[in-house]
Amino acid sequence: MKWEEPGGTFHAASAPDYIPRPQMRELQLARLRAVVRRAYDHVRHFRERLDARGFTPPDVRTLEDIAHLPFTTKADLRDTYPFGLFASPMSDVVRLHASSGTTGKPIVVAYTQQDLEVWTSVMVRAFAACGLTHGDIVQNAYGYGLFTGGLGAHYGAEALGATVIPVSGGNTDRQIMVLKDFNVTAICCTPSYFIHLLERAGELGVNIRELPLRVGVFGAEPWTESMRRHIEIEGGIQAFDIYGLSEIIGPGVSIECPYHDGLHVFEDHFYPEVIDPESGRVLADGEEGELVLTTLSKQAMPMIRYRTRDITALASGPCPCGRTVRRIARIGRRSDDMFIIRGINVFPSQIETALLAVEGTLPHYQIILTRVRGLDAMEVQVEVTPEVFSDKIGALETLHDRLLYALDQTLGLRVEVTLVAPRSIQRSEGKAKRVIDRRNLSSEARHEDSPTIALPRK
């Protein structure tokens, strides 16, 4: 396979996934130096931080020098909302996307034409790693819009030469019709949505196993091995985990290969580090910690040492697939209290903002996450306080509806609100346990009876 790098550089051998390590490190260092220079010259926030440390872009002499650079956090994105971290003038920005922030305001991300080309190229490489080619028919059931999932997968699959069906999220019965009637061979969506599709297909008498569908590219939320087993057996497909985040580029930061032993990071564009989330110290490959990513080629919005809050470990050993780029272990948990529901990032602080806006004071509350028929569901339990309690039913129903509306507006997500008795939510000694996540437990429990079938891999 021939590979053309965005910007015109031509690599004769193959995609950069396979280039020898020394060559990769050389490429990474050159790009790191350039991106640090770019951020320093065009992003005041970054320049001030570097100046405060007495560090200048030429001080980056080796890849290890990255440890001297300051971290970028979600708070930095919030504080510079909306465009404060852009390194390109708006006239060079050809696309904006947004994802949820920690409070009411979203996080805005920008792309130049070249950034979009990079994004498309990593998505092409991701789909190729899943075994997709130009003959495939891809049903893209990620949401199209501000969310990066839809368009990211769309342009990647198109550039691969596959046939893309931009069906977007939702409308499950129509998804099943498309899956059945259009000879779809690959689907992109969240893993929980695919489980929902499987269940609905069963109700409609459609056996997905008998369809030409053979590959699922699932991401935008954490999932378990037992979910994979369920999906592969019930769907008769091979399921691949894709990882990415809007702050870095969107989907396409890393992907599983057919060996399913971690996700290969497209290291020529995204430099991965794993750090101790407490001390910030860089950990050795193999040690578990928080994933930190640096965009090596981003123009519009370079991210230097962005703290993803995702917990993982880097694997540097050779992969039987032949790719030389390092792998991260599948992400199962985070170092902050963010959770992902139906592909949307949610922070408890967003919920607090909404509750506070309605009630004036912050009531005790708890978030219960469950998975009902494959779909994530979220319930916010709110204790009734003396300030809001009324002897009139109408007043409490109005309160309920206002809470529902405020949460809907803040999260962009339908949730359930339950008013509960005072002191009925358990108080903990230290930090309040705000989120009760029953999704994995229920899926483990539901699928534990599934027969384990050795699938052809390793």
């Binding site: 309690f389 002897d391 409490l396 008795a421 005072p422």
Partner: protein
């Protein structure tokens, strides 16, 4: 001449009414009458008790959010048209009934109506002018105790 009603928030699940009743029973507080307003999601228990101040303290100590509302208790004849005749008094007036409930008690031929008015003082004025017996806390207690 308003009386004090206690309202409690109850979740919509089995066994929710038992505990507040127990709290009152242990202290020897009589429930004169009660009504349960419920929706699909929650309920409100409204109580008229023999000692509302003590009851409030006990229930709050037990962790309940207690709302005290001033309601109006009226004694009427327990016969067809008794309530209708009373409601006529408010026809075309600015007094609005938020909710009401009724009970009879030991005295033959008499019933007590409990009203939550948006304008209780205006309501009492009209009731009195019509010669109706508006009851005080202590009277409600005694009527029922007979």
């Amino acid at each position: 001449m308003k009386i004090h009603q206690l309202s409690l928030f109850l979740e919509n699940k089995p066994g929710q009414m038992t505990e507040p009743c127990r709290v009152l029973a242990r202290a020897g507080i009589d429930i004169r009458t009660l009504t349960l307003a419920d929706t699909q999601r929650f309920g409100i228990l409204r109580l008229i008790v023999s000692d509302w101040q003590q009851a409030r303290g006990l229930l709050e100590d037990a962790g309940y959010v207690v709302n005290i509302t001033e309601v109006v208790a009226v004694e009427v004849a327990d016969r067809p048209g008794g309530l209708a005749g009373l409601l006529d008094l408010f026809e075309g007036s600015d007094v609005n009934i938020e909710y009401m409930y009724a009970f009879t008690f030991g005295r033959e031929g008499r019933a007590v109506l409990i009203f939550r008015f948006d304008n209780p003082d205006g309501a009492i004025e009209r009731l009195r002018a019509a010669g109706l017996n508006v009851l005080a806390d202590v009277e409600v207690y005694h009527r029922i105790a007979v």
